[in-house]
């Protein structure tokens, strides 16, 4: 029996705009419209928009909201109102449950944006950890639609809707009036380009989708999004990291703030991991011979398998790229081989991100 796939509130609008749909962790989402290469180019050079309504919005509310967030996330959320930060949520052993971005709306109210595939798990975890504390954990995901508007020209176009949009600083959030209703705008993204993400009611974001189509934005799918995020060195929760990996192995040690006052889940373990170093580390690779590597391809060094790719794709900018966990002593620039359908193809280790823009 075919399982029922969930549709976002923008489903009809996406189909009308020419989307080809796929099953993404139980959601029917656009994989592409015109084509991944054209959509990638639009985001790198102009502006693209993505329906990311499958992502989750969880609120932490109450007198202990701040302390609670500090205790379940690795980064330091001692932030002024309107500011956000990226962090990992760890299990008791230090494995990565998910990565999140949390924003301080008021000292007693935080908005936590979580990944769709881990949304339920995150929520259950938060609920469990919130027991006996003066904080409410509210999963408001079903009330929100969300559009990611990304690219060097994205803010230029959006100025027509909100003339102050460029004043919103990177990793900040603001509540605005959009088509007569309140919405959240955050200056964040998953593409390596400047841009914003806008969360609002389903009707409102549907309206925004139409507005953007008519004002310079190209509708883009998950295919382009995956290429853009890998080029920009953003990890995919569930693929590039999961509960078997800790932030240091995931090359994200910077999101673990051991020096913050509060205790947080697995803080002690993280301190030990940091002190002892890791055996394996997520490392980037670029193929140096023709071929396209894919997720799951084995990585060889001197004839011996040292790991496998957790993400990999063709990249319009770098031909064929990927990343995977390999021994931490593998140095940047070292040659390896990646096995594609039984054929070993030359590649080299590189520092991530592959692509860096001044965002």
């Amino acid at each position: 029996m075919e399982k029922e796939l969930k549709k976002t509130a923008l489903y009809e609008a996406c189909v009308k705009a020419g989307a080809k749909m796929i099953d993404f962790h139980g959601w029917l989402l656009p994989v592409q419209y015109e084509g991944i290469i054209a959509e990638h180019k639009a985001v790198r050079e102009n502006a693209g928009m993505f329906d990311v309504s499958h992502m989750g919005q969880v609120f932490f509310e109450g007198p202990d909201a701040y302390k609670f967030l500090q205790s379940v996330a690795t980064n330091n959320f001692k932030l002024e109102e309107g500011r956000g930060a990226y962090a990992h949520v760890l299990n008791d052993k230090g494995g990565i449950i998910d990565d999140i971005i949390a924003f301080c709306l008021t000292p007693e109210k935080f908005l936590v944006v979580v990944n769709s595939a881990t949304r339920q798990k995150d929520y259950n975890w938060f609920k469990q950890k919130a027991e006996g504390r003066n904080v409410k954990v509210i999963d408001a995901s079903d009330d929100f639609s969300m559009l990611a508007l990304q690219g060097p020209k994205a803010l230029d176009y959006l100025e027509e809707l909100d003339k102050n949009i460029k004043e919103l600083k990177r990793f900040h959030i603001k509540e605005v009036d959009l088509f007569g209703q309140s919405a959240y705008i955050t200056r964040t993204g998953y593409t390596g380009e400047d841009g914003v993400e806008i969360m609002g009611s389903h009707a409102q974001i549907n309206k925004l989708f139409e507005w953007c189509l008519a004002h310079g934005f190209k509708a883009c799918g998950l295919g382009a999004r995956d290429v853009l995020r890998l080029e920009a060195g953003y990890l995919l929760s569930g693929s590039d990291m999961d509960e078997r990996r800790n932030p240091y192995e995931a090359s994200c040690g910077w999101v673990v703030k051991l020096n913050k006052e509060e205790d947080f889940t697995a803080k002690k373990i993280m301190a030990e991991v940091k002190a002892n170093g890791v055996k394996q580390k997520l490392t980037g690779f670029v193929l140096t011979a023709p071929g396209i590597a894919r997720e799951g391809c084995a990585i060889f060094k001197d004839g011996k398998q040292i790991g496998s790719l957790t993400s990999a794709t063709f990249s319009p900018l770098f031909k064929a790229i990927g990343c995977g966990y390999v021994p931490a002593d593998l140095q940047e620039g070292e040659s390896v081989e990646i096995e594609i359908r039984g054929r070993k193809v030359a590649a080299k280790a590189v520092k991530m991100p592959f692509y860096k823009n001044k965002v």
Partner: protein, 124 residues
């Protein structure tokens, strides 16, 4: 160059065009459209023996790899080297410059097992 009407089609979307006992092989316009954004073609080896229906080549798009099956049996006598530097030729000219390989057929009657363009269209 290899007009659709003059080609025979496999259900797996490859076409074959008979050039005096040598079958020129490519993929249909429908297939190139479905695969979209072709970025790499892993060509078969010249001199290799292939059987009809045998996987012998892989076409990669940005997101996925698609197996290509030889529609006829015989020896691979030529591969389209132009695809090494410009794989998107398969998207732009699926029935011309985007041909993939040529098979010296061991049994040209195998072409009769393939679909005419009219019949192929009905399968889509």
């Amino acid at each position: 160059m290899y007009e659709q009407e003059n080609c025979k089609f496999a259900k797996t979307h490859e076409w074959a065009f008979n050039e005096n006992g040598v079958a020129v092989v490519g993929i249909s316009d429908h297939a190139q459209h479905e695969i979209s954004d072709i970025v790499f073609v892993e060509l078969p080896k010249k001199g290799a023996q292939v059987k009809a229906g045998q996987q012998c080549c892989v076409i990669e798009s940005v997101k996925s790899a698609s197996d290509i099956f030889s529609p006829v049996s015989g020896e691979i006598v030529e591969v389209n080297e132009a695809l090494s530097s410009d794989a998107a030729l398969v998207n732009r000219e699926p029935h011309a410059g985007g041909w993939i390989f040529k098979v010296k057929m061991s049994d040209a009657k195998e072409l009769d097992n393939l679909l005419t363009f009219e019949d192929y269209k009905k399968t889509l």
